[in-house]
């Protein structure tokens, strides 16, 4: 409770501070000549700055500035070509990627099809233990590079990657995968220059990309990553700022104060403590939108028979007042979830979940009793205590106790992993919270990695849910040759999962970003929470 109290207090103090400075007026004209370096708040990237070893939001933000990928995601969340001139396929299995001219790495080396092939081969090779390794598993030959622990890969190239000529790359997948083009925007699929392979270790602090910004000096751990505009980039004319400095903060409250003080210009996550005042503090420089995360409550279907009936799971879902939780506990930094597919990706249908996600305590109680309830009228709800989940999980527990009349025991675990271990060791058999956030903006990414049979071993299907019909529709979506047909098949899979409800979708995350007075409003943040640097303009 200490955190919440001091947070309110801090927010109040900021209002006072702002009111005081507002009288000052004056305005600064120190930057009359040309724009100054833009400072963006960043958390410490987990690994060195190698695209294929970057699988978290902070490092990805830097990668996005330093590299230009084959595709990008536009205002409508659709996939547009970026460095690729065309990406074509007839069967969703063999993809021909043609590159645009004029792109070079920051060291002058031209970006060719080989730069992509080399980078992907490196990322997929188990010997390099890159974090994004599993993302290459659709490409033919991935298995050869990943023979398993204790064995050496016999080759260092995937046979599915064929460099046809300098500007053409032909990619063959092990099986058709219609979302492949969308996937290519993720930083695992960025190209790498030859210099990387000479010194991967050095690259970690001095990466050489092909993006709009190049490194200015080295990555100073825990402090900053400084970049300047790369004038030879084909889109350089659209960049209106001299460079971006990523300033690393270990504490968003401090970063927010620096944002108000004008020492930080972009913050992609306004801290919870400032949520009630951010709109007033920032005005039209407060950016709100949807974020790709989904929060669930999961059932251990594989481990515990009492949750086997879908009717029970749906009744529990219906007894949760999502609106109260998102408004009261999350102060509108979440929105009630009504689909397994996030609103940020094509294929989302508002209200797809229907009645089970619509709060109706009377109907929920009726359905719960009709399905036989839970043995002993008892339920356990687990959460990891390290992630700020206590409040909402306790609220859910209170709602279930009130609306269904069950005794809910809330159980904290040290880490999320502990819940899974205890489930596996049969030390725990209750429900648990979890969340998922996409790797690439496609409906497939909200279904297969979470609800497919394959995801029990390789993904986040921690409930052990299996439905052969779902598998069928997912495969249908993968093999579809048009985007529309693919989305339709995924939606059919989605419908079936919503009917079975192995996880309860509770909320979608929201994007709350802020800009300083040094920048004009109107900065676009795409669905991967990455800044569209061409929309950043000095005030």
């Amino acid at each position: 409770m200490r955190g919440a109290k001091s947070a309110k207090w801090v927010a109040g103090a900021i209002v006072v501070a702002l009111a005081a400075t507002a009288c000052g007026g004056g305005g600064s004209d120190s930057k009359a000549n040309g724009a100054k370096q833009v400072v963006m708040e960043l958390g410490e990237p987990q690994n060195g700055l190698i695209p294929s070893n970057t699988y978290e939001s902070e490092g990805s933000e830097v990668m996005n500035a330093l590299f230009t990928g084959l595709v990008r995601y536009d205002e409508k969340n659709e996939t547009q070509l970026d460095m690729a001139a065309s990406i074509e396929t007839k069967d969703s299995k063999v993809w021909t990627i043609k590159l645009k001219d004029g792109y070079t790495f920051h060291n002058g080396e031209p970006v060719t099809a080989q730069s992509f092939a080399d980078a992907w081969n490196y990322g997929a090779n188990q010997d390099n233990t890159q974090e994004t390794n599993p993302l290459y598993n659709k490409i033919e030959g991935y298995a050869d590079l990943n023979p398993g622990e204790g064995k050496k890969p016999a080759t260092d190239k995937m046979k599915g990657l064929k460099v046809v000529d300098e500007k053409t790359l032909e990619v063959t997948l092990t099986a058709p995968f219609s979302a492949f083009k969308t996937m290519l925007g993720f930083n695992a699929f960025y190209p790498l220059p030859k210099a990387f392979f000479k010194d991967p270790k050095g690259f970690e602090t001095a990466p050489i990309g092909n993006g709009m910004f190049k490194m200015d000096g080295k990555f100073v751990r825990n402090q900053q990553i400084k970049t300047v505009k790369f004038d030879k980039h084909p889109d350089a004319a659209e960049v209106k700022i001299p460079g971006v400095t990523f300033k690393i903060y270990n504490n968003q409250d401090t970063a927010y104060r620096d944002l108000l003080g004008g020492r930080v210009d972009i913050m992609d996550t306004v801290p919870l403590s400032a949520m009630t005042t951010a709109a007033k503090d920032l005005g039209d420089r407060y950016i709100q939108g949807t974020d790709s995360g989904v929060g669930y409550i999961g059932f251990p279907i594989k481990y515990n028979k009492v949750y086997a009936k879908p009717e029970i799971r749906k009744a529990i879902s219906q007894a949760i007042d999502r609106k109260a939780i998102t408004e009261k506990i999350f102060v509108n930094t979440r929105t009630p979830a009504d689909d397994f597919i996030n609103p940020l990706v094509p294929g989302y249908r508002s209200g797809a979940c229907g009645a089970p996600c619509t709060f109706d305590p009377a109907a929920a109680k009726k359905a719960f009793d009709a399905a036989g309830g839970l043995p002993g009228n008892k339920m356990e709800l687990g959460y990891n205590a390290d992630g700020g989940h206590k409040d909402w999980i306790e609220a859910v527990a209170a709602q279930l106790e009130k609306n269904l009349g069950v005794d809910v025991t809330v159980k904290p675990f040290e880490q999320f992993q502990t819940i899974l271990n205890d489930l596996g060791d049969k030390k725990y058999s209750g429900a648990f919270r979890l969340a998922w956030s996409m790797d690439y903006p496609h409906p497939e990414n909200y279904l297969r990695p979470v609800f497919s049979e394959d995801a029990i071993e390789h993904g986040s299907n921690y409930s052990g849910y299996v439905n052969p019909q779902v598998e069928k529709f997912l495969d249908q979506g993968d093999t579809a040759t048009t985007e529309d047909a693919a989305i339709k098949a995924y939606q059919q899979a989605d419908d079936l999962i919503l009917k079975d409800m192995p996880y309860i979708p509770v909320y979608f995350y929201k994007l709350n970003a802020g800009l300083s007075k040094n920048l004009k409003p109107g900065v676009r943040i795409d669905n991967m929470t990455q800044i569209d640097w061409t929309t950043v303009n000095p005030a």
Binding site: Y55, Q126, T129, R221, N250, N251, Q417, W436
Partner: protein, 307 residues
């Protein structure tokens, strides 16, 4: 004297070994897989996880892993964390920052604390004494995170006369954090100096010194203060370690990339080698500080001799 120092240094070896064993076991007995911790809630790839576990000896028994670690340390190699970064590199980046912060804080609390304490003691019951007593009471009772946030908001955001966060290119940004960090100890030192000074000022030898006709300043500084320093030095010595290890809250408020934040992150991500190495160095700092304090006793009080 020399033999005493050697004996103390030899005593430090089992302390250090014991500390590393204890911390090593504690960190690695925490639930949760360090490789999975890096992937967050997403499942890390089973194959890559298996390779990394083997690479970092995570499948070996604890005593064997401890042996790998400690034999590395003895040859000057602190190993790497689970993202492959050398721990020595992490420490060489973060320790100097914390050391700077702690040194400034130490200077602030020693100088301000002793001076304020002496003046309060000399003017016992007078206005200045009351001011000192009241302000130190305030400093002791306000928690560091409250003081830090208030000063940051008032001086940094509202009046804009002090920096909000640390800037590696501008050392003056460490002054406010150092004052915040020193605040509580500053209050203790002031009060300790005041009490200790008042006591010595009443001692017979001080009265003799005054009777001999020595100047007041000489009596106070050379005769009284020197003797009154013993409890203060004890406190300062222990506090140096506390300042380094306890800087975590201050470092967080002012975004200072020192050992506090690194240690927190390392515990959170189960980066065992990082935690053990940093704590080991902190233990060393404590041992060294305590030894210096003990040696200073002899300097301050001629009656104390180490054979």
């Amino acid at each position: 004297m020399g033999r005493y120092v050697i004996r103390r240094l030899l005593q430090a070896i089992p302390v250090l070994l014991g500390a590393t064993i204890l911390i090593y076991c504690l960190v690695f007995l925490l639930p949760g897989d360090p490789i999975q911790a890096l992937a967050g809630e997403k499942k890390a790839d089973p194959n890559i996880t298996a390779i990394l576990r083997e690479q970092y000896h995570l499948n070996d028994p604890l005593y064997q892993r401890y042996w790998y670690y400690i034999s590395g340390v003895l040859t000057g190699d602190f190993g790497t964390d689970f993202t492959g970064r050398p721990v020595a590199e992490i420490m060489s980046e973060t320790f100097p920052v914390t050391l700077n912060l702690a040194t400034i804080a130490f200077a602030v609390e020693a100088v301000v604390g002793i001076v304020a304490g002496v003046f309060a003691a000399l003017g016992r019951g007078k206005f200045l004494d009351n001011v000192v007593l009241l302000s130190t009471l305030l400093l002791v009772s306000v928690p560091v995170f409250v003081l830090g946030n208030v000063l940051q908001l008032v001086l940094g955001v509202k009046w804009a006369i002090a920096p909000i966060s640390y800037d590696s290119e501008d050392m003056t940004t460490l002054i406010l954090p150092a004052v915040v960090l020193a605040s509580a100890s500053l209050a203790y030192i002031t009060r300790l100096t005041r009490t200790s000074m008042m006591e010595t000022m009443r001692a017979d030898y001080v009265r003799t010194a005054t009777a001999k006709g020595l100047s007041r300043s000489r009596v106070i500084v050379r005769h009284a203060l020197r003797n009154a320093m013993i409890p203060i030095v004890t406190f300062l010595g222990v506090d140096l370690g506390a300042l380094m290890g306890g800087a975590i809250i201050t470092e967080r408020i002012f975004n200072i990339p020192g050992i506090g934040g690194t240690l927190y992150q390392a515990v959170y991500l189960r980066q065992g080698t990082t935690v053990v190495s940093i704590v080991t160095v902190l233990v060393l700092v404590y041992i060294a500080a305590n030894l210096i304090v003990d040696l200073l006793y002899a300097v301050l009080d001629p009656r104390i001799r180490y054979a």
